[in-house]
Symmetry: C2
DNA sequence: GTGCAAACAATCGTATACAATTTGATCATA
DNA sequence: TATGATCAAATTGTATACGATTGTTTGCAC
């Protein structure tokens, strides 16, 4: 019985969407370790719903790439291979500069204000100690990219970025080494500054380097943690 | 009914995936008109499966943006609004040049051969008459972009393009006016030529213009066909 | 004839039941 | 003891059953 603790309590009227979000958050926040089995019955018991709803949630998460469902075996928190990780970051490098430019088109002073505010919060969390603050910091770091995506006013791009950021979190959870984001945080600030100055070329340049840095901080040698699975090409 | 029926007809082992693909193809091929209701019971009867599997398929399609599920009302073939259409093409403009460059990295003579071959087939279908040939032509047109995506060797990008091309087909089905693709076909050829010549800048340029042309051919005034739905902001 | 309300029908939302498959354990045998 | 076959327990795959919601029709009052 290795299923993780998720806010259980006596919740009623929890629908598929809520379950999906709860599991999603738990995965992205690293409360659920990659590879963890998500038994339909167990999860259902936690949320006091039937397997039907759990199944729907797990299938949706599988589509997002956050869980793998193996036929007749069950659903597991995704365990991205180094190759998958590479593809995820390659995709981000490809689309985030475009998102930046698109977002800048619609950006007014209030939007810049919001971005700065988010970065302040991020910085505040970095100063704190503790697992909780650390998770919140990582989340805030991703939220910066998501906020930029939301400023494109393009729902499609937003959804793509949602998926990319979520999967990136998983990858970082698996292969990240340093306390990193210290530099990442500064890079966020620099990007906003470049936008403020109207220097979009520079902003894009910084964004690409930022993504490069995140990826460079990963140690993607196989057998990290308790892997063994990808090690044999499965 | 139900009398120990031998695995009826040719249909055995139809799983969620097959149903999803069948419906997907039908939508993209315009055999299912936008707005058509997809009753769980009806679809299930067609495929001789229970509502459970149909539901799963419809939910997956909803995630792809090909059907809308309205709570307690059912699933309908998506009816993209002009705004959605705009967002879809904006996203394509944003990522397809990048895909082009990425694909070019891995492209050898055999790949170019494949692309040319696909274009030949596309051209052949354009010459023919009839609804079937017309559908095949539109499909082939989309396949060109999908083949480029597959050459990136990046599963994430591939999936994004899958979704974008499918939804584009839907939009074109709704708002397309001219017999179009005549010029689109030539543009495909030009793009391949540019790649062959190693002139990626030109290829990207052509790609963006190609997408512009597709979008420009749409007549997205509301009330197209039997709409009335979006006309009231629903 | 019009307008509203209540019953009816159809469809979806969720839970449960049963079948199929996998997994792990037990036991026989060399 | 090591190996392999057979069986039992657990878990997923699919179907069905029942309750809830929505849309339509009917009937009554005005």
């Amino acid at each position: 019985m290795k299923t993780a603790a998720v806010p259980a309590d006596d919740q009623i009227d929890i629908s598929t969407q809520s379950i999906r979000d709860s599991i999603r958050d738990a995965i992205v926040d690293r409360r659920l370790a990659p590879g963890t089995k998500l038994s339909e019955a167990d999860v259902g018991a936690l949320f006091n719903v039937s397997r039907t709803l759990v199944r729907a949630a797990l299938q949706a998460l599988a589509y997002e790439g956050l869980v793998n469902v193996e036929k007749n075996r069950g659903a597991f928190v995704a365990y991205p291979s180094p190759e998958e990780a590479r593809q995820i970051f390659a995709t981000r490098r490809l689309i985030e500069p475009g998102i930046l430019r698109e977002a800048a088109k619609h950006m007014g002073p209030s939007h810049l204000q919001h971005l700065r505010q988010l970065l302040m919060e991020e910085g505040r969390l970095m100063a704190e100690r503790g697992q909780t603050a650390r998770r919140a910091e990582i989340k805030a770091s991703g939220d910066f990219h998501l906020m930029l995506a939301s400023m494109t006013r393009n729902a499609v791009m937003q959804r793509f970025m949602d998926e990319l950021v979520a999967r990136s979190s998983l990858v970082i959870a698996l292969y990240g080494q340093s306390a990193i984001s210290s530099c990442g945080h500064q890079e966020h600030h620099d990007i906003v500054t470049a936008i403020e100055n109207g220097d979009l070329d520079r902003a894009c340049h910084l964004m690409i380097h930022h993504i490069d840095h995140i990826e460079a901080d990963l140690d993607m040698r196989e057998n990290k943690g308790s892997d063994l699975r990808e090690a044999f090409g499965l």
